[in-house]
Symmetry: C2
């Protein structure tokens, strides 16, 4: 659908949401319906679970290796979760972009803040980055979604609800704000954002006219 020659610069589509905001479903659908949109393999220091393949599910790194690369500024974002580190290497993202594909990053608000900060000083990331915040309309709606799943313990629901207002306050730092309606509507809105970003002037080559 997308003629190769049209694109000068790929899109790094970052999608963030409060926990339970529905971003995992939207991201999975985006990847399914856009062959040019790829996820990147992230890094972790946790041990592989049975069946997990290095370089496919994660890049499994030792803690010293992870921390060495952190110190070298190789991560766009990273986080320590229950004693394990998780992170996205800049090189993983840039390799996909340079191959002519686009990248979808499904990430929490802290990770998004980290990537925005990197982008300030990194023209290649900045040129590619488009940030989307997806959120239910109200805390009440988030609560009904979390409970509707029926899969979360009361403790997890309570923790997510108490974190949500601060997460939603981060919305002001994103390029786009999608206030959730239905799953189909949300997906369509995110798809439109992706397609519009592909048409942003700096991403489109117009070689046929030799004027740009």
């Amino acid at each position: 659908m997308e003629p190769e020659s049209m694109t000068k610069s790929g899109v790094l589509l970052l999608i963030s949401a409060p926990s339970g905001g529905g971003k995992t479903t939207v991201c999975a659908s985006m990847l399914t319906q856009n062959p040019a949109l790829k996820r990147v393999i992230t890094c972790t220091t946790r041990s592989p679970r049975p069946g997990e393949v290095n370089g496919q599910d994660y890049h499994f790194l030792s803690m010293p290796e992870f921390e060495r690369r952190m110190a070298a500024g190789e991560f766009l974002e990273q986080a320590l979760v229950y004693g394990n580190r998780y992170g996205t290497l800049r090189s993983s993202v840039v390799d996909v972009l340079r191959s002519g594909s686009d990248v979808l990053l499904n990430i929490d608000v802290q990770g998004a803040a980290s990537i925005r900060k990197v982008a300030e000083a990194d023209p290649e990331i900045r040129s590619a980055l488009a940030t989307v915040f997806l959120t239910p309309r109200t805390l009440v709606e988030l609560e009904s979604r979390l409970r509707g799943r029926g899969s979360e313990s009361e403790e997890v629901v309570a923790r997510r609800l108490s974190a949500a207002p601060a997460e939603v306050a981060e919305a002001v730092h994103f390029d786009y704000l999608v206030v959730s309606e239905t799953r189909e509507w949300d997906l369509r809105r995110v798809q439109s954002i992706y397609e519009a970003e592909k048409a942003r002037r700096h991403r489109v080559a117009l070689d046929g006219w030799r004027v740009l």
Copy 2:
């Protein structure tokens, strides 16, 4: 489809193209498929043709009245064509935006340049404005489109082709660049741009969280 409460600020979707670039077709389809997107009535000093209704086809103004309003800075853009003036009043656009609808402006590159200039000093226009340049991939393609219509004289085709490179050079000043593929593809791309613009952070209210 668009919940009223979501939108803080309307979209002024400006579409420009070299003559014969196919923008009239795209604009007509956009208006048909988006009830919230309206055209505005423009002004002219030419005489009404049989059947034309003042305030519906055009606002028909006398030359002194038009020029008085020009001098008062009331036009977003205006042009003199074969001795008649044509122009878009700022108030026509702003009235539609304030009523909660969006505005589609189908306009030439000179008009687009004028509106960008107004927007620099006019926050209400600037906040609403999103500019799209639609163009065939090459001059050869533009020529085959113009001739394919079979309705233009050789003189008109030649005039449009000679004007096109300078018009396309203006593409660098637009927010979005749509290099024409098929009618359906072009329309989908413009529709995506419109929907994405509606999701831009500054246009979306998030009252339910009382944080923005």
